[in-house]
Amino acid sequence: MTEMETQIIQAALQGQAQGYRFLMNRYGRQVQLLVAQWVTDMRDVEELTQDVFVRAFEHLSDYDPERASFGTWLSCIAHNMALNHLRSQGYESLPLNEEQYSPPDASQWAQDDEASSEAERLALLDKAIDNLRPEERSLLHMRYYEGHSLGEIAEVMEVPAGPLASRLQRIRQKLSKLIGI
């Protein structure tokens, strides 16, 4: 976290909300993309992203810079709010630290003929990712797009890192098998 971020957070805590715009410009896209792994409707994504920043502002005093970066803290709020949003619509999440979990059968996504080119493999992979559970898509997004470590992801998702790594490995194996590599 930069010195400027620290000053902005301090100013916001003293009631100066205008500096908060800087943080929204900096982390808005990150939060939006994370929420988009959970919610497909883009209007809901934008609304949820706004709600995340409002919630973060309200709880700014709870933020501890020594415990996590501001981005990780925001991701944690976004993760929880997106999960609650889906739950309010009847979604039952599967805990990511569930050891016995295995990804859904991918045979239904596979095409009859094997993917020959890299582009075809990517298209197939994209389709397969669409069929993953939201928490699994979120896991892949944080790992492969944002480049977070497993420890950071575990902190965001509030699960132990060990089972999370096992789960990620199983997803990768299943996807590898699906696209024929």
Partner: protein
């Protein structure tokens, strides 16, 4: 250890997630304004002080309870402890039996000719006094052996056994002490006489 397959799937996943992110439209331009509008009336919650657990009241309370239990509870019956206390008081009241017992030191053969006065030796171990009777006190001195045997025989007869009815062992020892002292005094006088004769 990562295999080629692992590297390949990782690379494809990187690319796939990048493409998926690119498909998500950017946030609206007025996104920040909307959020700031929502924040208009809001202020961050004041920083809540963490509750500090204070243990000292519990410690004080525990001490008070302990005090009440120890000092205000009715005392236990002391019947069992009384005999022991009596024994201890008797021990204290007894005169010190470790009084100095003057005992003639047996002379060595080298010193016997010089006829120096015999220095009494101090004995501080009263529990060994019973052995004192049996020790050949003048064995090494150059005195008349037959006379010494007589003295010892007489001394042994003078020692009174502990009276069976006497319950207090300290009193019995005191009686023996008196006998031993008188006997020792007699022996000393006789030895002095013998030395004078020589």
């Amino acid at each position: 250890m990562k295999t080629t397959t692992d590297n390949h799937i990782d690379k494809l996943l990187h690319e796939a997630m990048k493409q998926r992110a690119a498909k998500v439209p950017p946030l609206a331009d007025d996104f920040a304004d909307k959020v700031l509008g929502s924040l208009g009336s809001l202020t961050p919650r004041p920083l809540q002080k963490k509750r500090e657990l204070k243990f000292w009241p519990l410690v004080v309370a525990a001490c008070m309870v302990g005090f009440v239990v120890i000092f205000l509870a009715p005392p236990k019956s002391t019947e069992e402890q009384q005999p022991l206390a009596l024994e201890e008081s008797e021990v204290v009241e007894q005169p010190d039996v470790a009084e100095v017992v003057e005992q003639p030191v047996p002379e060595t053969s080298d010193k016997s000719d010089k006829a120096e006065p015999i220095k009494p030796r101090k004995v501080h171990k009263p529990h060994k006094l019973s052995k004192f009777v049996e020790e050949p006190l003048l064995a090494e001195a150059e005195v008349n052996a037959s006379h010494l045997e007589e003295i010892e025989r007489g001394a042994a007869e003078d020692v009174h056994p502990i009276h069976p009815e006497m319950n207090d062992p300290y009193l019995a020892i005191m009686e023996q002490m008196k006998d031993i002292r008188s006997r020792g005094e007699r022996v000393r006088q006789e030895v002095a006489q013998l030395i004078d004769r020589h």
